[in-house]
């Protein structure tokens, strides 16, 4: 009776229980080069978090240590309160109940779609469960197909179904969209996000694609050279980056020297509210889309500065304008493609919205 109940419960809940993650002072070096340098990271159950950074920053190594595929030099990993890596603890990968999705999906070429998913369910897989997860990813009609017959997107969804099948409570994805073309990538991101939310599973996602990280995650962990540079919501890391490096890794920025006082900052483009509290000499970090231009100034009567358009690049949906300010410095402005501006046009330029400020860096002092 109780066995029956457990089984029926298992086949109805997609996720047994989404699990929290706690990483403390995790370190790992390869051949004396530190790949991970004492990082701390906490995830709440059910969160979707991306690890974002350039290649070689240690994000994949972190993921592989979570999966038990790489051995940390030091530090602890606990998932759902259970210690997986500790001073004298190592839980092997097959005992961790963590779903992992690899960049090339790692589907078993000698097994069909159903058997690939069934492999995750032990020696006598429950066919109802296989049906259920394949249904979740929209592939129930492909159950008996060979994995070679699937498109890239379908393979991706089989990998997802296989990882979700045992109800792991934590899913790791290693650059899952990098093998797909741009249009498919866009569509699948949405689909995968929906599937993961439906399953309610805690998810860690590794990517080097800023747009992907920002669009899919609840929180973004920006990594650089084995350390965590910043953790925050997508809006926080994009709009209020904690360092110039993070700012320019997440998108295009220009830096102007400014002076901050009483929640406002003054720079060559005028005085605007500061996004973060600061006083004194600062760097004003400006994204091109927040630099507005016009023949006349802004309607709210804020001050604007004269600028001349130096160069223009047309991108279809928008245009990038390089503005030369009176001091000689250039600032970029991204505008929709209409109206069209041209090199030589004289315009007024100003900042829209609050500006992000950072402590004055040596690079801008030298300027």
């Amino acid at each position: 009776m109780s066995a029956l109940r457990r089984r029926s419960k298992r086949s109805h809940d997609l996720v047994e229980k989404s699990r929290s993650v706690s990483i403390r002072e995790l370190s790992k070096s390869f051949a004396a080069v530190a790949a991970i340098d004492s990082i701390d990271l906490d995830l709440e159950a059910g969160e979707i978090v991306t690890l974002l950074g350039p290649s070689g920053c240690g994000k994949t190594t972190t993921l592989r240590m979570l999966a038990g595929l790489e051995l940390p030099d030091a530090g602890t990993i606990a998932v759902g309160g259970e210690t997986l890596n500790g001073p004298s603890t190592f839980v092997p990968p097959e005992k961790r109940r963590i779903g992992m999705i690899f960049q090339d999906y790692a589907l078993f070429p000698h097994l069909d779609v159903g058997a690939n998913v069934g492999y995750a369910l032990g020696r006598r897989p429950d066919p109802v469960r296989i049906e259920q997860v394949l249904d979740l990813v929209g592939l129930s009609s492909h159950r008996n197909r060979s994995v070679h017959q699937l498109s890239g997107g379908e393979q991706q969804r089989v990998a997802l179904a296989r990882a979700l099948a045992p109800g792991p409570g934590l899913i790791l994805l290693d650059e899952p969209f990098s093998n797909l073309d741009a249009a498919l990538r866009e569509r699948l991101r949405g689909e995968v996000r929906t599937i993961l939310s439906t399953a309610g599973v805690t998810t860690i996602f590794v990517t080097h694609d800023q747009e992907e990280a920002l669009s899919i995650a609840d929180r973004v962990v920006v990594m650089r050279a084995g350390r965590i540079e910043q953790i925050g919501t997508p809006e926080e890391v994009y709009l209020r980056p904690a360092s110039l490096w993070t700012a320019s890794f997440l998108g295009e920025v220009d830096v102007l020297a400014g002076t901050a006082r009483d929640g406002a900052v003054a720079c060559e483009l005028g005085s605007v509210p500061a996004a973060t509290a600061a006083t004194g000499e600062v760097d004003v970090v400006i994204r091109p889309e927040s630099v507005a231009i016009g023949v006349s100034g802004p309607s709210d009567g804020r001050n604007a500065v004269k600028a001349e358009i130096d160069r223009r690049t047309f991108y279809g949906h928008d245009q990038m304008l390089h503005l030369r300010l009176p001091s000689g410095q250039t600032v970029r402005s991204r505008r929709l493609s209409f109206p069209a501006w041209h090199p030589g046009d004289r315009v007024l330029a100003w900042i829209e919205g609050p500006a992000n400020v950072l402590p004055r860096s040596r690079a801008s002092e030298a300027r």
Partner: protein
């Protein structure tokens, strides 16, 4: 970011100890013949020097060298034009010629020599048919050269044809668009790119010739291998035989060094994987008839005539006393026993070596992989010689046993199995095993349910290769087989050397028939079987 050596074992460092222990045993076994050969030579350095530093030895070395050069050159002269004709021209029946001209490779050199001697030698077919009393002697250099050239040229053919198929035809198009004629393009663009492939093929032929025992012994040509055998047989003189063996190993090592040098330079010449479209065929025009005549002549000499001779002797032999069916079946099953024992053993050892070298890459496991290739450097006669003395002096309980013969065949042909298993294991991404671990399966179960099915093809091919080679093996079997243990190969050789040509025919046919199934397995995988 690097993916560590962590597949079945999860995140533990290095290979599991039991596997490593097995690997060390395999390495020790593979090195045994080489090491014991050195022991034999060092045992009596004075004797070794007095053997090697003689005019006779220098003469033997020169003769071996001359035969090697002559055969390699002839094989190249036959193989390169055939490769071009069957790969790039509008030769009528191109595919058929491609198959027919490759087939002689499956005929072992001693069978080729047997058929030549039995056709052209004294008391041979030609004398029977024509009633000619005196023919120019086939024995000696000419016979050895002819037998080895006719049955090794496909090594050059296969290597060069593969290179021709790989060449990027766009390079030739580019040369033509720059105003070069078809002939000029061939000379300035195609030929230079074929250089490494020709050299690879010719070196394979040279290695074959240097190690060959069957053809030279039947042709009574004094090469190093034959001299080693004769020295051993006549005197059990271990130090002379061993020092001649060491000299022979020096030859093979030089050729292997050449091979790896060529392989290194090959990289610069290789175009991208697979040409986007097939290369254009060259119209032969008025050269069509000479080309056809050339292909026909080669096929006639290397395939049709030998088979004809074989059928002639077989038909003469069947129904006479010379054919003892009981012996034949006994010898056949002995051949099967030894060859399949070696195939299975080599496959098991190869899995150990390949798993260590591919999945736990490190200085130690790489060294093990290299060591497992030691069998390539030692010709069969040397392996056998070393193990015979090892049996007599160190392990008398093994001497004259089937186990020692199977051991010799296993380590001699281990590289074939390691290559085959290793390359198919390389094609299984470790990610797949890691994924299986993450899905809740332990290391041994992942190996059983995921890795083994995926490398099964490579294991079968490795077994087929070893089986095929062990089946045809001659000198190691002659030296190591227990007394009274005859295989098809030793039977053919004994009958031929005694001039009983009829008696050799049926075992030859049986040997070729037993070799057919594994050949078929290999042909299906596109692995050219080298003989």
């Amino acid at each position: 970011m690097g993916s560590g050596p962590t597949s079945w074992i999860g995140a533990r460092r290095g290979a599991p100890l039991p596997l490593l222990g097995l690997g060390l045993l395999v390495g020790a076994a593979a090195l045994l013949p080489a090491i014991y050969l050195l022991v034999l030579v060092l045992d009596d350095v004075g004797g070794a020097i007095s053997t090697i530093a003689t005019g006779r030895t220098a003469g033997l070395a020169l003769q071996t060298l001359a035969l090697t050069v002559a055969v390699s050159a002839t094989a190249t002269a036959i193989g390169v034009p055939l490769a071009w004709l069957t790969a790039r021209t509008d030769l009528p029946g191109r595919r058929l010629w491609a198959t027919l001209t490759t087939l002689p490779l499956v005929i072992p050199s001693y069978i080729g020599a047997y058929l030549l001697v039995s056709a052209l030698g004294p008391f041979g077919l030609l004398r029977d048919l024509l009633g000619v009393e005196r023919l120019p002697s086939i024995y000696g250099f000419v016979g050895a050269w002819l037998a080895l050239s006719l049955f090794t040229y496909p090594l050059v053919l296969l290597s060069v044809r593969a290179a021709l198929m790989r060449l990027d035809p766009q390079l030739e198009d580019a040369a033509r668009s720059m105003g070069r004629s078809r002939r000029g393009t061939f000379i300035s663009v195609v030929l230079p790119q074929l250089g490494p492939a020709v050299a690879t093929g010719a070196l394979l032929v040279a290695l074959y010739v240097v190690s060959d025992f069957g053809a030279v012994s039947i042709m009574r040509f004094d090469s190093l291998t034959r001299e080693i055998y004769v020295t051993y047989q006549s005197s059990f003189d271990r130090s002379s035989a061993a020092s001649l063996g060491l000299l022979l190993v020096a030859f093979t090592l030089a050729l292997l060094a050449g091979q790896s040098w060529v392989r290194g330079s090959l990289r610069y010449h290789r175009a991208g994987p697979g040409a986007a479209r097939p290369a254009p065929t060259v119209p032969l025009g008025r050269w069509r008839t000479p080309a056809l005549a050339f292909c026909s002549a080669v096929t006639l000499a290397a395939l049709i005539l030998p088979l004809g001779v074989l059928i002639y002797w077989a038909s003469k032999g069947i129904g006479t006393d010379s054919l003892a069916t009981g012996d034949l079946l006994q010898n056949g099953s002995n051949s099967l026993l030894a060859a399949s024992g070696a195939a299975v053993a080599a496959a098991v050892l190869a899995v150990v070596v390949a798993v260590l070298a591919v999945r736990f890459r490190g200085p130690m496991t790489l060294a093990l992989e290299r060591i497992s290739f030691a069998g390539y450097a030692l010709p069969g006669v040397v392996v056998a010689l070393s193990l015979v003395f090892f049996g007599i002096r160190v392990a008398p309980s093994l001497y004259q046993t089937l186990a020692l013969l199977v051991f010799a065949l296993t380590i001699h042909y281990l590289p074939l199995a390691v290559g085959s298993v290793g390359s198919s294991l390389l094609q299984v991404p470790p990610r797949i095993e890691e994924a299986a671990r993450g899905l809740g399966r332990g290391p041994l179960e992942v190996f059983r349910t995921i890795t083994t099915p995926l490398v099964a093809g490579g294991i079968w091919a490795g077994m087929a290769l070893v089986f095929l080679h062990a089946l045809k093996e001659l000198p190691a079997t002659l030296l190591l087989a227990p007394i009274g243990f005859e295989t098809l190969a030793t039977d053919i050789w004994r009958q031929t050397t005694r001039g009983f040509f009829e008696a050799g025919a049926v075992p030859t046919i049986l040997l070729l028939a037993v070799a057919a199934p594994p050949l078929y397995v290999l042909a299906g995988r596109g692995t050219p079987p080298s003989s």
